[in-house]
Symmetry: none
Subunit: 207 residues, 4 copies
DNA sequence: CATGAATGAGGATTCATTCAT
DNA sequence: GATGAATGAATCCTCATTCAT
């Protein structure tokens, strides 16, 4: 009744993957609450419902966890920005997502986490590289979306204009993230008004 | 050859002030390099060329140093933003200040420090309050500048538009700060081009 | 060969208890030798044969250790005083216990520790409260013993006289404790003679 | 107009003495409030209205101050006990002095200080010796007072009885001191009642 | 696999003592 | 004499990491 080797292996791998996910979820929660440094391995372990020692079977050390979280958060963020293109009303979409309470799962990029990551990037070259990769991807994606033909859902801007506006767009979004972390109570109506005008300007044809 | 009491007192005060400045400069350097938490008092003391114990004669504890640095950085930032209004060409001014090398002195707002501060603000209410105060001041300053009459060096925008645009402006600047910390090598020409268009849009009369 | 859950739990609890005892014994020894403040956690850890960090798994901080020791010493003292009632010859019992060498174990109330505790009580309200509780218990116990009927092993004194004499009795005992700490070489014969007369007077019917 | 050498010297000595007194008074106050260890030299200096450095011109180190204070306190206590003999009503005199608030000056032996001293004596042989000397003096003084002829203000007890009762007396007083430190709110009426009976018994002719 | 007890290197902070002025 | 800035060792405590079970 024993399973063949391959099945066993894949079962084991699945479990390994599940454990890693469990740890990362716990770590994310702790990091959001206390920051990378203040969150202790003991707390993360407790949050994950396992022993501190076990974590080291799945991650070499705390830094590896931080890195893995960052990697995953960047994927999530990338996806989210991808979805924006499709959304009917970009400005209100962004505005609405502002200050969304962490829904516990990892499908939302926490402003606090984003700050923590960025701050850490100024010291850790690996993190810096990851963020740079992320930034480049997002920027070119937004740029391509602005330059794409109108009939393909784009805005038909010349390439150079698209690139410049994409930069503004990306900085604006990141600035909002920072603000969100700091001032989650910001007036949403004002924000939406401001954003809709800004977005309109960003996608309008150049003079 | 003895000095009168007043002279002595002011000498002592001058020394005290000088020491505080020395400590803050060292702390700033350490914080930029390692972050608020990873920078140890021992390292700060060494950087300042003094013993760890001496620091506590001038600051109650590490947190007080962090707070003092933040307060000072926000002043600097406030001043800088104030100067922007006066500058001939806003966009290129901002672009030029981007990525300026930390001149070690405290007259430039380090992007890294800004991130560190913002991240810390999500945990420390005192820091959060300081940042909020700062944010409010800057926002209203920018708004008043946008709404002021053209003949007074403003842009004559209606109050509500000015408020909304000021928000965008401030977020954009902060987003740039974040980017600066992460990617100081960003293409300056592109940045200037992007900013000049964005700034032009922000100060243009509403439709 | 694996143990069931219950066995495991009780084993763990037993170990925890054993470690606490080990720490308390070491701490007691250190406190007797150097006092609460001068005894360092490092020394206690070394005495207990463990690392400093480990102590904090079993006690929240140094103060908790001090408190635990005090609590335990007071229990011991309470028991001892309880036993006195039963003893054939009270005076010689007290005299004999005077200056007993610390048997390292916790079954003897060290005079030094008693002093340390009392001195600390003038500053730490928690310790003061514990000592006050202790004092009240002992006082009322002695009083009830003096007032109880002769046929129940008491001395049949009126309540108010019993209360007053109990106070004297308790102060006398405590005074002896102090003397013991300071002058363990006191002439035992003299002490016994003095005590037997004093005890006789304390239990004699009032005029 | 200059004073001769001798006058100068004695003037200097007087000043030295005055400074020492000032320091000791300050130290006493600090020790009563915080204990020997917790009272810092800085606080003592501040209380004495001088700089920390200056203290070291008059005392070799903190320990020397402690020792000097103890020496002085013991003198005071010796005097006080001497005065007791003369007092009309011994019991009420003791009772009344119980819990007297430190009158700031050094003419009252603080219970807290007494405890601190006794605790310290278990470690520091010099302090132990001082206390032992003190104890012996007081004991023999009390004994001689009990054995002295009635017409000389004594109680005419035989020498050996006087010695034994003096021991009880001294322990009782010390026990009261301890209690005072711990429980300054003790019922005075009860105390006086208890003491008057006890004192009466101690001075009564032996059976 | 899993546990969690154990380690020990730091970290912030205090304070007796010294010494240049 | 007097100051008080400066030192640096020592203290309590935390936490990433290891390893026997």
């Amino acid at each position: 009744m024993s399973m063949d080797q391959e099945t066993l292996t894949s079962k084991a791998e699945a479990r390994t993957q599940a454990q890693r996910v469990r740890i990362l979820a716990a770590a994310r929660a702790c990091f959001v609450k206390s920051g990378f440094h203040a969150a202790s391995m003991a707390t993360i372990a407790e949050t994950a419902g396992m022993s501190p020692g076990l974590i080291y079977r799945y991650f070499e050390n705390k830094n590896a966890i931080i890195l893995a979280i960052i990697e995953r958060q960047l994927e999530v963020a990338r996806d989210r920005i991808g979805q924006m293109h499709a959304s009917e009303n970009l400005a209100s979409g962004i505005a609405r997502s502002f200050g969304e309470r962490e829904r516990c799962a990892e499908n939302s990029m926490s402003g606090a986490l984003f700050l923590e990551m960025s701050a850490e990037a100024t010291r850790d070259p690996q993190i810096a590289a990851a963020l740079r990769r992320f930034g480049a991807t997002v920027h070119s994606e937004v740029a391509s979306w602005l330059s794409r033909d109108r009939k393909d859902g784009g805005y038909g801007l010349p390439d150079d204009v698209a690139k410049a506006r994409a930069l503004i767009f990306v900085c604006l979004i990141e600035g909002l993230k920072v603000r969100e972390a700091r001032e989650p109570t910001l007036d949403k109506a004002l924000l939406e008004k401001a954003l809709s005008e800004a977005v309109a300007a960003l996608v309008s044809p150049p003079k």
